[in-house]
């Protein structure tokens, strides 16, 4: 843990975004995670993405469960709303928050323990219902907070710090999200902000549940030889299918995509997720092909990254459930609480 505050230095050359805020204005408290933790890089990528998009921090709600990953909302956007919930229950809280106020920009931060073990059921239903949340899984393949046991995403054959080999199968959150009917499934690496920051922006713009599985190495318990979630292994085995970029509505109108190298995915708000194909054969709108692609690379022990599946047309949970269009806080008391007569009228139909 660092004892000093990160200096608030106003140096020449510091830039401001459209709101007049600097990158530093999107930070939170100083991290108490281990030095070198991938999660801190994810935090930095989130700060960068929100600053780039000039989102007002008070529009945002940060949600998390339990674990190293779930501590990280404290380290970004100190001006945002937030709730650090029960282990694995971040999706339920996010569902409630969005039901009450669909205008909130919800960022759920979870880990492989929080989402793929204790919270796997919650994860599945958030994806299936297309809850409008940016769902980041900081995936390090290990239970760091309880000192290095294998997690549900540890690859079979990978080794723990003391040499023990994992024999159980691994859950791939990206493949799971796709099979669960997810509308946005991506993978990235904490050590590659050039890929991660645009993916986060695309996830924020995507209407629905944007799952980004971020390989985020645990320097303390899972960065050794034999680990398949270490910095070195990830760098050596990752294979980017494409590079995403978010083009705002004003610019999207002018853009042309005739070269066949770039795949534009239009969103309802007029913005475009621009995918530069690194693998010319890959089509992230083809669900069967995506699963096949993931499987063949898994078998070859390769880590596929990029925006791997997207369907921007799916309705979100708010649309499906027909929740109130305006936040509950903006209703008058009488509207929210029509009184016992109205209740009696409603109950008549239930008898």
């Amino acid at each position: 843990m660092t004892w000093i505050d990160k200096p608030k230095v106003k140096w020449a050359g510091q830039k401001s975004n459209e709101l007049g805020l600097t990158l530093r204005d999107y930070e939170g408290g100083l991290s108490t995670l281990c030095a070198g933790c991938g999660h801190d890089s994810v935090t930095a990528a989130i700060v960068q993405a929100f600053w780039d998009l000039a989102i007002r921090p008070e529009q945002v709600i940060k949600l998390s469960g339990i674990g190293c990953s779930s501590k990280t909302p404290a380290y970004f956007l100190s001006g945002a709303h937030g709730l650090n919930s029960v282990h694995g229950r971040m999706p339920s809280v996010a569902t409630g928050a969005l039901a009450a106020n669909r205008d909130l920009i919800a960022v759920g931060i979870s880990g492989d323990g929080d989402s793929l073990s204790i919270g796997f059921g919650q994860f599945a239903h958030a994806v299936r219902r297309n809850l409008n949340v940016l769902y980041l899984i900081e995936n390090n393949g290990v239970y760091g907070l309880t000192k290095g046991q294998f997690s549900a995403s540890s690859d079979p054959g990978s080794k723990a710090k003391k040499g023990e080999e994992n024999r159980a199968q691994a859950i791939d959150p990206v493949a799971s999200a796709i099979t669960l009917g997810g509308s946005f499934a991506a993978r990235s690496f904490s050590g590659d902000k050039e890929q991660l920051v645009p993916l986060i922006k695309a996830g924020l713009a995507h209407p629905g549940c944007a799952v980004i599985d971020i390989i985020s190495p645990c320097v303390t318990f899972n960065d050794h030889e034999g680990s398949t979630k270490s910095y070195a292994w990830t760098r050596a085995h990752r294979e980017a299918a494409n590079l995403a970029d978010l083009v705002p509505p004003a610019k999207a109108i002018e853009a042309s995509y005739a070269d066949g190298q770039t795949l534009p995915i239009k969103l309802h708000d007029g913005s475009v997720i621009e995918l530069t194909k690194l693998d010319p054969d890959y089509d992230p709108t083809d669900r069967a092909r995506a699963l096949q692609y993931l499987e063949s690379h898994r078998a070859a022990r390769q880590i596929v990254t990029g925006l791997l599946y997207i369907d921007s047309e799916q309705p979100t949970l708010n649309d499906i459930a027909g929740t109130a269009k305006k936040p509950l806080t903006e209703f008058e008391f009488d509207e929210l609480n029509p009184g016992s007569a109205a209740l009696a009228e409603l109950q008549k139909h239930m008898k």
């Binding site: 843990m1 000093i4 990160k6 200096p7 050359g13 801190d40 890089s41 320097v219 910095y231």
Partner: protein, 601 residues
């Protein structure tokens, strides 16, 4: 770019902007830390090693360190380095027993020094501990040179001057006061092993315009007038005084005038602000005393009526200025300004009427001696120049550095070694790591603004010529100001092989000065860093190829606040905070004699 060679002492030295900017390379961050710990005597001694006169310089140094201070690139005002130096000098204990022991048995080498100013005294300071016999010839009845004669006592009290000069003369210097040297030839014939000329630049420049002769009783040459005031020969001046010129001497002249009875003092500048030679703080101090600085007035003539000076006629100028440079000049008007006295402070130059031109000391076209910029030797081996005498008027701190360098040359010369045989600077690095997140320096950033020096009230300060205007920092001001120092000598040292490219340092850096990226040419690389590195005066640190991706770590030194967070957040200690200690070779470090065989056992 090629990987940065941090084994070159200049690399880390440049990072310590103040030390690099100081001609004598004073270890500023080190003495500021010592002041922070209340170790004033130690802080004074760190200063004394390089600049010899901390008490004097803590008041009147031209502060080349401050404009370059990194802090000035962060919150506009640099650390008050000079004022802190004075704190160390004012609060130190007796330092006499820390001064070098002067050997009783001399080395048989006799040096003559002309002028008892800061350059000559520095040579004595460096050579006396080595067993030299130094004879200093001074024309005036007191030592100190321009520090005594040209800097008014309200800026530099005589006690401070006496104390620091005494430290040197008490080493056994043969100080011959009232002994002007009339002939270099005669001095050479006296058989000294070496001669050092530190006679300053004693000739004030003239202003030959109509009326100069007629009005001469009330027209004074700045440095001569200041000297007369310093020695009590002049005690008053007229009510209305014009100062011609706007350098630091002009500032001393105008403020001195106010203390001798003037109440309407104007400093007449030919050019607009921004072209003044005076230091900003000296201008501020003068304006605080209600001196009027009149710009764009070029002297045309003195007006003398009935043998008495009435004032001056000035041409009113207009300038076209582009990018801070004057591109065109016009006279737009003429004006008369009343004056009882006029002081000319338009510069000064060296004068060597006493050096014969046929003895082997060459002079250049401006009648200045040919002096080597490294060895300070003239064209006559064994004769050295330093201070203002060498290259014209500079500042005390430059003269001190000249003295150090000349002392090395003299030491070599008299022992039959080449004067060019000089030790290079070396750099020592040692980690400041104390624990997992503890460093043996104050790495927390102090956001406070520069502390303001308190002055004696205007109503008090004119009563006595010797009343020192600046009160010095009090304890609270000192405690705050020392923390403003960014500890630039606590270097960020990177070890390529240890880096796992986790980005922790890049993410934590409060000023975005780190980047891990592909290598490239410097111009292009500077633009694609986390924050563009637009300050080309500041170096980029570039690592070798990193193990996992072959990319490089780049650090823009420009606005690094040396908080150490990169090192704290580094899981592999690839970054470490290490103090750089510059080892400068002085005369004593230049071994000129074979090591004597010592008895053992």
């Amino acid at each position: 770019m090629k990987p940065t060679d941090t084994s070159d002492p200049d690399y880390f030295h440049r990072v310590v902007d103040c030390q690099w900017g100081c001609p004598a390379h004073t270890d500023v961050p080190e003495y500021i830390r010592l002041i922070a710990q209340g170790e004033f005597t130690d802080a004074y001694m760190v200063n004394r090693e390089s600049n010899v006169f901390p008490g004097i310089l803590g008041r009147v140094c031209d502060r080349p360190c401050e404009p370059v201070c990194r802090r000035a690139r962060i919150d506009e005002k640099p650390v008050a380095i000079c004022r802190l130096k004075r704190v160390a000098a004012d609060h130190k204990e007796d330092i006499r027993e820390r001064l070098p022991i002067i050997p009783e048995k001399k080395n048989g080498k006799k040096i003559a020094l002309v002028g008892a100013g800061c350059a000559s005294l520095t040579v004595c300071n460096d050579l006396m501990p080595l067993g030299y016999e130094c004879a200093v010839f001074e024309a005036l009845p007191v030592p100190g040179g321009l520090m005594r004669s040209n800097i008014p006592a309200f800026r530099l009290p005589a006690e401070v001057l006496d104390e620091e000069i005494d430290y040197i003369t008490d080493m056994g210097v043969d100080l011959r006061l009232n002994s002007p040297i009339e002939s270099m030839k005669a001095l050479l014939d006296e058989g000294y092993d070496a001669i050092f000329v530190g006679s300053g630049a004693p000739k004030g420049k003239e202003l030959d315009i109509p009326g100069r002769q007629e009005g001469k009783d009330n027209i004074h040459i700045g440095i001569e007038w200041l000297e007369s005031v310093a020695f009590g020969h002049i005690k008053k001046i007229g009510r209305k005084v014009l100062i011609i010129g706007v350098g630091n001497t002009a500032m001393d002249c105008c403020r001195t005038s106010l203390r001798l009875g003037a109440d309407d003092v104007k400093v007449m500048a030919r050019k607009p602000r921004g072209f003044f030679k005076a230091s900003d703080w000296e201008l501020e101090d003068a304006e605080e005393e209600l001196v009027e600085i009149v710009i764009n007035h070029s002297p045309k003539s003195f007006v003398v009526e009935d043998g008495r000076l009435k004032g001056m006629i000035f041409e009113v100028m207009e300038y076209d200025i582009e990018d801070g440079k004057i591109t065109d000049t016009r006279v737009v008007d003429e004006t008369f300004i009343e004056a009882d006295d006029v002081i000319l402070a338009i510069g000064q130059e060296t004068a060597f009427p006493w050096i014969e031109r046929d003895i082997g000391i060459e002079f250049n076209e401006w009648d200045e001696p040919e002096v080597d910029r490294t060895t300070y030797q003239s064209t006559l081996p064994g004769v050295f120049f330093g201070g203002d005498a060498a290259f014209g008027p500079e500042n005390i701190i430059w003269a001190v550095e000249h003295g150090h360098q000349a002392a090395i040359s003299i030491h070599n010369q008299v022992h039959g070694k080449s004067v060019d045989d000089r030790l290079p600077d070396t750099m020592n690095l040692s980690s400041r790591k104390m624990g997992i997140h503890e460093w043996s320096y104050s790495n927390s950033f102090e956001p406070a603004a520069r502390r303001k020096m308190e002055h004696v009230p205007l109503s008090e300060r004119f009563k006595n010529l010797g009343t020192e205007v600046e009160l010095g920092f009090n304890a609270e001001q000192t405690a705050c100001e020392v923390e403003r120092c960014l500890n630039c000598d606590i270097q960020t040292v990177f070890t390529d092989e240890l880096c796992i490219e986790c980005d922790a340092c890049v993410d934590i850096c409060p000023t975005q000065c780190l980047t891990i990226t592909e290598n490239g040419e410097e111009d292009e690389l500077r633009q694609r860093l986390t924050a563009p590195a637009d300050n080309l005066d500041q170096a980029l640190f570039v690592s070798g190829g990193l193990e996992q991706t072959g990319r490089i770590m780049v650090k823009d030194e420009n606005v690094c606040v040396h908080c150490g967070l990169c090192a704290e957040r580094c899981p592999t200690a690839a970054w470490d905070m290490q103090k750089s200690l510059l080892e400068i070779g002085y005369a004593a470090d230049h071994d000129v004699t074979p090591c004597p065989i010592r008895k053992t056992g």
